[in-house]
Amino acid sequence: MITKRIIPCLDVKNGRVVKGVNFEGLRDVSSPVELAKFYSENGADELVFYDIMASSDGRKIFTDILCETASKVFIPLTVGGGINSVGDFDRVLNCGADKVSVNSGALKNPDLIYDAAKLYGSQCVVLSVDVKRVDGVFRVFAKGGRENTGLEAIEWIRRCTDNGAGEIVVNSMDTDGVKNGFDLELLEKVCDAVSVPVIASGGAGKIEDFITLFKKLPKVDAGLAASVFHFGEIKISDLKRKMALEGIPARV
């Protein structure tokens, strides 16, 4: 039976994981390669590497780090951050990324998703979208959540899947950082609108938040989080065991 996926997200800047991490047994807690190996060995189903681009030098370092990780970690890797062109797809896919996630790049260049899906296949193109309620309407935000595009979120997501996006990461800015659970209202709307896999992001604070997510919204395929995993507040192995106990298909 196909399992629900648990995906840690690593923010990488100048070759280091940005948010501090603290794991016993890790020699270098801010090495993306070490952390990726750790997660891979402890039950993560997939990893997201997010490139917090500081400069063009930073981008070169990121690409090198990605290559090193992909040569040592054998689970699916998704790369996001600074993906603005088909050339950017090429750059990270050649380093061993399996999927590429686009956010602002798709807003700036409406053809990007279509072009990339045609070249590399839909399975490789992930739409990442930052959503926030504004006067009761779900709006798409760009530039890391700093700019309201005015686009209605469900409409935007539908347009992107029509253009070939093969997976959607839905990040709710309203629940992100609050650690009080995922944005079930938004996620349900997205699940009803599209037939591609939906990855929930923003709001996980404890194991029960994942359990509630998968029980209330069985159409959600995966849960993504960063700091709760990095700070050890949720151990992926504990989470997986709990999922299995609750009858949620999990790779334990």
Binding site: I2, T3, R5, C67, A70, F74, I75, G96, G121
Partner: protein
């Protein structure tokens, strides 16, 4: 030496890295002599069947791989590479495969429940159907990573494992020295590496 066939379909970085974990000598190649010299061949592939078959034919590797496999050299097809082992595919038309294994490739939409998403993507558990050399280090129920929208049908004779996705889909096949995995062993963590190690240890027949 294991030769990974490079015919311009998909990126081979992960495959080369993972095979290098279990075998000292791995080459990514489109050179006929290297393929002939290899002890084993791995045929990867992502994308559309028709394009891939055309590319293999235009490089002359289509006939060569067929000959080498028929002469007993171990061959492992992965994902689209597995589908290419069959006689025929109905992906956007009607295409001829290598014909090393009996059966054909069809859209999963024809058989799966309409509530199941396409592609079949993610980690799914293997249901063993028969013993096979490439499974010697793993067990029934182990999880592997899938991404596909087409499946191999009418291949009961070679079927060694399925995965449940509202119906049982072909997950792996084996006939003598020819092996195929619909899933990606190079993306399936420790289980995947064990499958590759077992393949690296198989012998010509």
């Amino acid at each position: 030496m294991i030769a990974i066939i490079d015919y311009g379909v998909g990126n081979l970085f992960s495959l080369k890295s993972s095979l290098s974990q279990v075998c000292e000598d791995v080459e990514v190649t489109f050179d006929r002599e290297t393929v002939k010299r290899a002890d084993k061949i791995v045929l990867p592939g992502v994308g559309a069947f028709g394009d891939a078959a055309k590319k293999l034919k235009s490089t002359g590797l289509f006939e060569l791989i067929k000959d080498e496999a028929q002469n007993g050299k171990p061959l492992l097809g992965i994902c689209l590479g597995m589908q290419l082992l069959f006689e025929k595919s109905y992906e956007y038309g009607d295409h001829e495969g290598l014909g090393l294994i009996k059966g054909s490739v069809r859209p999963i939409s024809e058989i799966i429940d309409k509530n199941c998403k396409i592609p079949h993507i993610g980690w799914n558990s293997l249901i063993f159907k028969r013993e096979a050399p490439i499974f010697k280090y793993i067990k029934n129920g182990d999880y592997v990573y899938f991404v596909h929208s087409y499946y191999a049908s009418d291949c009961n004779e070679s079927l060694i494992a399925t995965a449940e996705y509202s119906v049982e889909l072909t997950a792996a096949v084996n006939q003598k020295n020819v092996y195929g995995c619909q899933f990606h062993p190079e993306k399936s963590g420790g289980v995947g590496l064990k499958i590759l190690k077992a393949f690296a240890e198989t012998e010509a027949v």
